[in-house]
Amino acid sequence: MDYSHFIYLKEELSLIAVIVILFLYDIFGSRKSLNYFQPVACLLVGIHVLLTCCPARATLAIFGDAAIIDQAPGTASAYPLYSGMYNLYPLGSIIKSILATGTLLIFLQARGWLEEKQTVIRRGEFYLITLFTLLGMYFMIAAGNFLLFYLGLELASIPVATLVAFDKFRHRSAEAGAKYILTAIFASGLSLYGISLIYGTTGTLYFADIPAAVTGAPLQVMAFVFFFAGLAFKLSLVPFHQWTPDVYEGAPTSVTAYLSVISKGAAAFALMAILCKVFGNLVEQWQAILFWTTIATITVANLFALRQQNLKRFFAYSSISQAGYIMLGVISGSALGMTSLVYYILVYMFSNLAAFGVITIIERRSGKETIDDYNGLYSTNPRLSVVMMIALFSLAGIPPFAGFFSKFFVFAAAVEQGYYWLVFIALINTVIALYYYLRVVKAMFINKNETAIAGFRSDGYTRLGLIACSAGILLLGVLSIVHGEIHHYSTGW
């Protein structure tokens, strides 16, 4: 075993360092000093984000390994470590830093909820458990072997169940937790059965060796279907989506935000990586499966979203349909598809976190979370309403905002592969989506309400988070360098 490889695990190692520091702080910190837990956690995760943003190539140059540096990005970018167990590739670092940024934004928003009387004693646990799931996602993304992938997947989903059930004394939270953990184990059981059949038919678990042994035999197709069904549960694609609205509604709002953005983004990326790398020989089968799941996901979710009154439920269905759009990037299976997938996750993260930031604040201040409660919000809280409007416009895909460009790129990636009908149906669905997103905007800006939610000022951290999200939504679409940079690393990936 070559211990020098540990240097290349800079994302994982720095995250583990952050976790250990916070863990010790949580145990040994005095009651008074623990009041600064959130700023410290945000600071450490911020440093971690900066470290991950530093491109893999630069790190390699510092520590010096000529063999890796010679592989310029764009030619053969995946570099196997630990005899293929772990894959080092620039695009993986990019998606990891995107996920870490999202986690940082959620930490900024979570303060109000965690300072409440009932949760304040368990405040440290929230940050630790969240970071552990992030670590799991890192392993899931970088895995070069089904064993590491499975461990990452579980590390990314079991702790989330404890987060969903975090509000111990609120029955809805516990109910959501039970629904989440049972479906999550069931889903991983399905995946595992698929993986076991893949092992039986190919004799290996390494991603690099499997493609040579995948011949398209019926048993392998069945194995793939089981595996896909398991991941589709995590991604909440229709018809595996029934748990999503319940869990999103019952979970604490910050956890809902985490589930809808970070977990989903990581699972989507890992799914595409595995479909292309491992099941490249079954491309016809998985494209056919994805074709119908995508259509069902976008359409069914949109139709259900139309009749929701509770905003968290509404955003659950909205996030299901967004996952369908992400699948448009996956189905193309090309470098362009990969670029648009990563870009979509980035933009979707900022938009959805901005919306959830507003929901978190308002739920905490007034305890209200249905669309009718937002009537006349603009007259009392103009700035919050504008942030919410920007976020909803971006989710719906209205031009000046980043959401338009991300949708445009996934459509372009699918059209490039000849999926005209799929894109056509997706386009029709954007119109439906526009209707229900605008319903919230109408409630805030046009509907009159005598008893609108009173105006208030939120704390500095939350405001910082919302400003960052709004800036992301406004700038990401305009700055073409972001898309260009991602594309640069995903060619030949």
Binding site: E154, H171, A174, A178, I181, L182, I185, G189, Y199
Partner: protein, 104 residues
């Protein structure tokens, strides 16, 4: 090993798997649902050990996967039971029909 072919074991594990899926879909008590899921996970363990023993006897990948899968499923069960106990404390009941606060 005479007379005991791979297929016999595979059929047994497949039966376990689908019994688990059936149980997951039809049971009305959180604990029995959890037991059904355990059936699924154990059938997977059998599969891995089996393939390794019969088809690829030279290596250990399948056995290792089984060990990890057993460990992880223990964690899953622990978390699930903790949450179920929490539900019991809240409503003194773990029947699925009483988990009806969240629905369309």
């Amino acid at each position: 090993m005479e007379g005991l072919h791979l297929e016999y074991y595979l059929v047994a594990s497949a039966v376990m798997f689908f019994a688990g899926v059936y149980g997951f879909l039809t049971r009305r008590n959180l604990l029995t649902i959890l037991i059904s899921i355990e059936l699924i996970l154990n059938s997977v363990d059998i599969n891995f050990a089996l393939f390794n023993r019969f088809l690829f006897p030279g290596q250990l990948e399948g056995f290792f996967f089984t060990l990890f899968a057993i460990g992880v499923s223990a964690c899953e069960t622990a978390v699930a039971i903790a949450i179920i106990i929490n539900i019991y404390r809240n409503i003194r009941n773990i029947q699925v029909k009483n988990l009806d606060q969240l629905k369309d």
